[in-house]
Structure formats: structure tokens, C-alpha cells
């Protein structure tokens, strides 16, 4: 304190002048900074508060204008000391008010001050100096600024910001609230918050207030509020308690955000995802499934769900002779019985457009449509019809351009179907058409195949009957006393009849295999005996061929169908002979292990190219490039393979072009699982 010059106004100020104010007034204990300068600007006195404010002690009579030598404008730009307010007061002899400056202390901290320099004149009116009061406004201004900023934020916020008492009375209401809820500030203030709460959600307010009363905040609470015009607004709201200076909770502040758009966006994303999933599922079904009714049901179900239709149906475009009736195929959202009461939809003006391929029909209210109610006998929907008001019909057009049918959707309320629904159903209909085309094609092929097998079966039977007669008569003729020539020709004819009979039998067998009806009559038999019979039989009709058997086996018992196995061996031997023109040797090989018998038929004929080794077992396949004089239908090896497979055996071929082929087969000797088929 002793270092601080006494700031008393009886002190002589300046070099020549006295300040003519109350003497003995001690400024030193004032809580506000005060200092004086003489008329030249030299500091003549200052109080303690000034020293604290400046952070330094100026030198009396040396420091000019101000106790701080670094001062700035409020925008941060440096200010020359001789332009500071005190300098202006002294230079111009007037008080300066309202100019704020920043002063920097030696420790680099800055304070914002509002100086109030006042000039001091003597009795003659001459300027003798000035007295300056420095008001520290650093904190004062921040508080004001914050309030101003907050007010601006509240005002310009897009979110509703309001406050209310614990009793729910609205105490503030910003512009966004006016916009969101449609009530002006004056309409809302003083009203109860239930003004914007839907009646069924009033309980929420009790819960919120109880949380607030406990000092808790409620964050991001999603709910619905209602605007003045009755519009329901989905909002996300955060509520915090308002606490007075004594720490009492006196109300709540509430920030509410309209989340309609966010909701709508989320909903849109959810819908798109769902649609994508459905479209994916449909595409999968279509690509994997060839079952027409399954495809149609899935497409109908999915599109009905997507459009939000109450019922959907697929109608085939089958117009009968009376130019009426579309065949109902699948239904979704209603039972088939709901339609069975009526005839199929008729070729009315409403339906015709779809089946004529004129495009999509989408009507907000079909009962008000021009095309509706024009056709007898009902002139509209028959009584008891599903209540269709919203109507959407999308043609399903095949690749060929013909309309396969249509997807029809109905809803009892008007205006349910949007352009977006139309687009989605149209694109699904496009996908579905591909699947439907394929399924129809597949069914046609299946039907054709069944018909063909049925035909082969019937034809074979019908062919065998005359063959039986021919063969019978031939046998009778050969019993009659005929000359040698006649006998020779009859034998040759009988031989041809046998070949024909065997071909017919093969055809019959193929049709049986295709129908899964080839039966095996299994029994225990000696495979060696079967081989002996086969060799004898083949030799009988191919006398010039030398058929040798290479084996150590005298007798070998196995289980199987001896007739079918004989058929296979005859076929393999006949092939061996057929494909060895100019050669007269065929070899049979027979061996066995504990579990299976292995038989080989080896020829020295034309052989098979490596590429064709597996093809020879397919139906109707004939070795390419062979002389067409080699006859056959291309079913012998196919049949043989099927018979061996049915015996759980294996048939394969080893061959070299020009050197010959060996057909090998293995058969299990005993396969108990086969036994039950005997019965």
C-alpha cells in the first residue's frame, strides 16, 4: 500500500494545476479502477483497483495516458496509446463514453474495459488534467453476449424450443414451435402443454414431468404431437429440468425435432429393402423352379404384399369360345372359394385391356371408372364379390409378345396403388414371364415325353401281336412238307421276324425304363450257364464267327434277373460282331472275386473314338461316322447300361480306334437288398 501513491484529490495534479474537487476523498478503496493524468497525459495517480486491472504499477509522471502500455481495439487490432480514450479526452478537452478497449497485462492476460475519462478544468476553464474510471466489462459482456447468442439460437433454430412449468404451463415458445405446431407465441404462452399432445398420449406428459421433477433429463424420446390443424407430427424430444439460482427445479425446457422426414426416409429404406428381398426371392424361384403353379403363387403372394393390396390374383389369358372367361390360377389374400361362387372374370371392358396387352390399368376407384359397370348381367361386380375399389392390373407378357395372363390387385379403399407399385409389379411381371415361359415349356416337354413313352409302350404291344401271328404262321408253314427252297426262305423270314421282335422288345424296355417301370425278376442262377446259352445262341445265327470264352470258372451262382443279364450279353456280343466287319473273332472273358463277377466282351473291330466312349451309353446314340449299313436304333447299350445299373453293377468300355473295343461289366454276386423285388 505504501508503494501505491495516495490517490487523493487534494494532491497537486500536473505541474501547474490543482484539481478543484472535494479534498480528502480516498479513492484507494473503491472497487473500481480510477486514475488521473495531468494535462500533458502523464499519470499522476491511480488506485489499487487500477493497479490490479493493469497488472502493473505505472511510474508516476512518466507513464503516459494509461497504466497499460499494450492496448487494443475490441476487434483485436493494436491501438496507439495516444489515441486511447484518455488521450482523446485530454487532447480534445471532452469526456469520452462507451468506447471499449482491450488492455493486455504483462502476464499476457487481456481484459475488456470501458473507460470513462472526464476532463478536469480550473476556475479559469483551463484543462488541468483528467480522471478516468475503468470498468472491467470482460465478464459483463460475455454474459450479455451469451444471452444474445442464446436468444439468436433459440430464435433461428429449426427445432421447437419451449419451456414450461412443472404444472405444464408453457412459458416460452420459439419461432420453430410456431411453425411446427401452427400456434403463435401469444397463442401458446400460458396454455397447458396438452395443447399439442394427442389425447391418447397424455400419460406421457405425467411420466416426463415425474422424470423432470427428479432432476432427470429425457433424451431423444420419440413420440407424436399434434399441430393446430390436427396434423400428427412424429417428433424426437429432449427435455431437461430448469433450475433456479437456489437449485430448485421450477420447470422444463424442451427441444423437439420433427422427424417425419427421417421417419419417411427410414420407412422408404425399409420398403426398398423389403422389395429388393422380395424381387430377389422371386428371381430365385423363377430361376430354380419349373413348377408353374409354385412360380405363379409366389409371384402373386409377393406382389400382393408389395402393393399392400387386400387381394391379388393371377388369371390366365384363356378366353373360351364364347369370348369369355379367364382362368383363375392363383390367389393371395382371399380363398379360392371366394371366387368359386362366380364364373371366371369375364371379358368385360375392365379386364379386356389387360389381356389385350394394352398395358397397365391403375384406377383409384374402379366403381367410378368409365369402363366399369358396362357389361351385362351384373353391370359391375356380382353381388358378394370381393370389395374392389382400388384396382391395379398388370399384364404378364411372354417373350413371344403374347399375353400369358394378368396380375390383378384390389383393395376396398380408394387410391391405394401408386405409380411406384405399378413400376414394381411391372418389373416383377417381366421376370415372372420368363419363369412362366420356361415352366410352360418344361411342362410341354414333360407331357410330350410322357405321351411319347405311352406311345412307344402301346405301339410295341400292338406290333407284337401281328409278330406273334406272323411267327406262328411261319412255324406252321415250316412244319408242312415244303421243298428245300421254301424251307430256306421261311427260315430266313423267321430269322428276320426274330430280329424285329427283339427290336420291338427293346423299344418297349426303353419306354419302361423312362417310366421307371422296368421290372427285374431276380432269382439265384448260374452265370456260367447263361454265358453258355448266349454263346450257343449267337453262334447259331452267326456261324462264321468264332466266339471264345476265356475263364477258369466251371459254375458260379449269383442273384439277379437271368433273362435281363442274358439280354445284356446278347446285345454286347451282337454289337461286337456288328462293329467288326471283316473280322470273325470275338472273345468273352469271365472272372470273379468274392463279391462280384466280371465279364468282358472283346472285339477286334473298328473301335470307338475317345470322345464317344461315354456317349455310347446314351439313348438313341449311334457311333458317328460309321457306315450306315450298320443297323440299329441306338438303344442297345442304353438298355444294357440301365439293366446293369438296376443290378447295382457297372458297365464301361475300353477302346482304341481301328483296333477294337472291350465292353466290361461287373455285377455283385449277392445283393440281398435286391431280393425283395422277386416277390
Amino acid at each position: 500500500m505504501s508503494d501505491t501513491p495516495q490517490l487523493t484529490l487534494d494532491a497537486t495534479m500536473g505541474k501547474n494545476h490543482q484539481i478543484p474537487v472535494a479534498k480528502h476523498f480516498d479513492f484507494n478503496h473503491l472497487p473500481i479502477a480510477v486514475y488521473t493524468c495531468d494535462n500533458l497525459g502523464y499519470i499522476t495517480s491511480f488506485n489499487k483497483a487500477a493497479e490490479v486491472l493493469w497488472g502493473r504499477k505505472p511510474e508516476i509522471g512518466k507513464d503516459l495516458w494509461c497504466g497499460s502500455w499494450k492496448i487494443f481495439y475490441t476487434n483485436g487490432e493494436p491501438m496507439d496509446l495516444d489515441t486511447c480514450p484518455m488521450a482523446i479526452t485530454l487532447k480534445e478537452g471532452r469526456a469520452v463514453e462507451g468506447k471499449e478497449i482491450l488492455i493486455e497485462r504483462p502476464d499476457n492476460t487481456r481484459v475488456k474495459v470501458r473507460p470513462y475519462p472526464v476532463p478536469v478544468f480550473d476556475e479559469d476553464g483551463l484543462l488541468t488534467g483528467a480522471i478516468n474510471t475503468l470498468v472491467d466489462v470482460t465478464n459483463l459482456t460475455e454474459g450479455e453476449e451469451k444471452r444474445a447468442i442464446l436468444a439468436a439460437i433459440v430464435d433461428t433454430s429449426d427445432d421447437t424450443i419451449l419451456s414450461k412449468t412443472l404444472q405444464g404451463i408453457i412459458t416460452s415458445w420459439n419461432k420453430a414451435a410456431e411453425k411446427m405446431f401452427g400456434y403463435t407465441e401469444s397463442e401458446a404462452l400460458g396454455k397447458h402443454i396438452s395443447l399439442i399432445i394427442p389425447p391418447d398420449r397424455l400419460d406421457e406428459e405425467k411420466h416426463i414431468i415425474s422424470e423432470i421433477s427428479k432432476g432427470n433429463t429425457v433424451d431423444h424420446f420419440q413420440t407424436i404431437r399434434v399441430a393446430k390443424n390436427g396434423r400428427k407430427i412424429p417428433i424426437s424430444v429432449s427435455i431437461s429440468p430448469i433450475i433456479d439460482s437456489n437449485g430448485n427445479i421450477i420447470g422444463a425446457s424442451k427441444i423437439a425435432r420433427d422427424i417425419s422426414e427421417q421417419r419417411a426416409a427410414n420407412e422408404a429404406i425399409r420398403r426398398y429393402t423389403e422389395r429388393l428381398e422380395i424381387i430377389n426371392a422371386i428371381t430365385e424361384t423363377i430361376s430354380e423352379d419349373l413348377d408353374l403353379s409354385k412360380i405363379l403363387q409366389k409371384v402373386t403372394d409377393a406382389t400382393t404384399r408389395l402393393t399392400g393390396a387386400q387381394f391379388g390374383a393371377f388369371f390366365y389369358n384363356n378366353i373360351d369360345a364364347n369370348d369369355e372367361s379367364f382362368m383363375l390360377y392363383t390367389l393371395s389374400g382371399a380363398s379360392k372359394e371366394a371366387f368359386e361362387k362366380y364364373d371366371m372374370p369375364r371379358n368385360t371392358a375392365v379386364f379386356k385391356m389387360t389381356f389385350n396387352g394394352e398395358g397397365v390399368v391403375r384406377v383409384a376407384d374402379i366403381t367410378k371408372d368409365d369402363r366399369y359397370g358396362r357389361s351385362a348381367p351384373h353391370y359391375g361386380m356380382p353381388p358378394g364379390h370381393l370389395p374392389v375399389v382400388s384396382y391395379l392390373a398388370v399384364p404378364v407378357t411372354s417373350r413371344s409378345g403374347s399375353v400369358i395372363g394378368g396380375l390383378f390387385f384390389g383393395h376396398p379403399e380408394p387410391d391405394k396403388f401408386t405409380a411406384e407399385h405399378e413400376d414394381i409389379v411391372t418389373s416383377i411381371a417381366g421376370q415372372a414371364a420368363i419363369g412362366i415361359d420356361n415352366a410352360i415349356l418344361y411342362e410341354e416337354i414333360k407331357n410330350l415325353n410322357e405321351k411319347k413313352d405311352e406311345f412307344i409302350g402301346l405301339a410295341s404291344h400292338e406290333l407284337k401281336t401281328p409278330l406273334t401271328s406272323i411267327s406262328g404262321y411261319l412255324q406252321i408253314i415250316s412244319r408242312l412238307n415244303t421243298d428245300d427252297n421254301t424251307q430256306k426262305f421261311v427260315d430266313k423270314t423267321a430269322n428276320q421276324v426274330k430280329k424285329l421282335t427283339s427290336l420291338v422288345s427293346d423299344l418297349l424296355d426303353v419306354s419302361k425304363i423312362e417310366a421307371g417301370k422296368l421290372q427285374l425278376a431276380k432269382e439265384e442262377f448260374d452265370i456260367r450257364t447263361v454265358i453258355n446259352n448266349v454263346i450257343e445262341l449267337i453262334h447259331f445265327s452267326n456261324v462264321s464267327y468264332q466266339i471264345s470264352l476265356d475263364t477258369d470258372i466251371e459254375s458260379l451262382t449269383m442273384i439277379g434277373d437271368p433273362d435281363r443279364i442274358e439280354q445284356v450279353l446278347i446285345n454286347l456280343l451282337n454289337n461286337a460282331i456288328k462293329y467288326s466287319p471283316g473280322n470273325n473273332k470275338v472273345k468273352l472273358l469271365l472272372s470273379h472275386s468274392d463279391r462280384e463277377v466280371k465279364i468282358g466282351v472283346k472285339d477286334f473291330g473298328i473301335g470307338i473314338a475317345p470322345d464317344n466312349l461315354t456317349k455310347v451309353f446314351t439313348r438313341f446314340y449311334r457311333v458317328e461316322g460309321t457306315n450306315h449299313t450298320i443297323s440299329g436304333l441306338g438303344i442297345g447299350l442304353y438298355l444294357s447300361n440301365e439293366i446293369i445299373i438296376r443290378h447295382h453293377g457297372k458297365l464301361w468300355v475300353e477302346s482304341e480306334l481301328g483296333k477294337g473295343s472291350t465292353f466290361w461289366l461287373t455285377l455283385p454276386l449277392f445283393n440281398n437288398t435286391l431280393l425283395p423285388e422277386i416277390n
Partner: protein, 125 residues
């Protein structure tokens, strides 16, 4: 002159087959009765009393299997051997189950026909 035991009924709707069988069997001294359908099978068989029956599969009205079943259920006729013949080998099992004694596949060797009928005749005695 005919041996009274060598009496046969042939059920077949194909006239040629009937003609062939008749020719062959009559040569062998058989008394041959033919029918192109298998209606009234019990009455016919009861009145003719054959020692062997030759039954076709595909024959109106009921078909050979049903006719055979009827014969085999009849106490008086069940011991008369039935030779079942068909162009369809898969019928073999059905014919066995219906009670037919023998199966003969069409087309057939007439030697085989003679042999089967002969052995049926002797088994029935």
C-alpha cells in the same frame, strides 16, 4: 377218336392267334374251343370242362387277370391249369399272383406251346 382229356379253351381276341393255336393243337388231337372275349368265363368253362385253359392278357371285357382270378376262386374250376400268354413280359408276375400255372410270352415257339400244354395236361391229371 379224341382223347376226352385233350379239351382246351383259348381266350384271345386275335383271330389269327386263335387260328394258329387251333391248327397246331387240333393236329395234336385236341378239342379246341375259342372265345374272343372272356365274358361268362365261369359258365363257359363249367359247361365245356376243358383240361387246360389258354388265357390272353389283353382281352375284353375284364381282361385275362380278372378272368383267371375268377376261375381260381371257383372251387370246381380252380384245378384246371391256366396258361397265361401275353406280349407283355411284365404281366408274368401278375399272372402268377392271379393263380395262372404257366406263363408263355408272345411271340412264341409252337414247339414251346405244345410242350407247355402237354405238361399242363399231365400236371392236371
Amino acid at each position: 377218336m379224341n382223347d376226352p382229356e385233350k379239351r382246351i379253351i383259348i381266350f384271345d381276341d386275335d383271330e389269327d392267334i386263335l387260328a394258329i393255336c387251333s391248327y397246331v393243337l387240333e393236329e395234336q388231337g385236341w378239342e379246341v374251343h375259342t372265345f374272343t372275349d372272356c365274358n361268362h368265363v365261369i359258365e363257359r368253362v363249367s359247361s365245356i370242362k376243358p383240361s387246360v385253359i389258354l388265357m390272353d392278357n389283353w382281352i375284353p371285357d375284364s381282361g385275362g387277370i380278372v378272368a383267371t382270378q375268377m376261375l381260381k376262386k371257383n372251387e370246381e374250376l380252380k384245378n384246371t391249369p391256366v396258361i397265361y400268354f401275353s406280349a407283355n413280359n411284365d404281366i408274368h408276375l401278375l399272372a402268377d399272383n392271379a393263380g395262372a400255372e404257366t406263363f408263355l410270352a408272345k411271340p412264341f415257339d409252337i414247339d414251346e406251346l405244345e410242350r407247355i400244354i402237354d405238361s399242363a395236361l399231365h400236371s392236371s391229371v
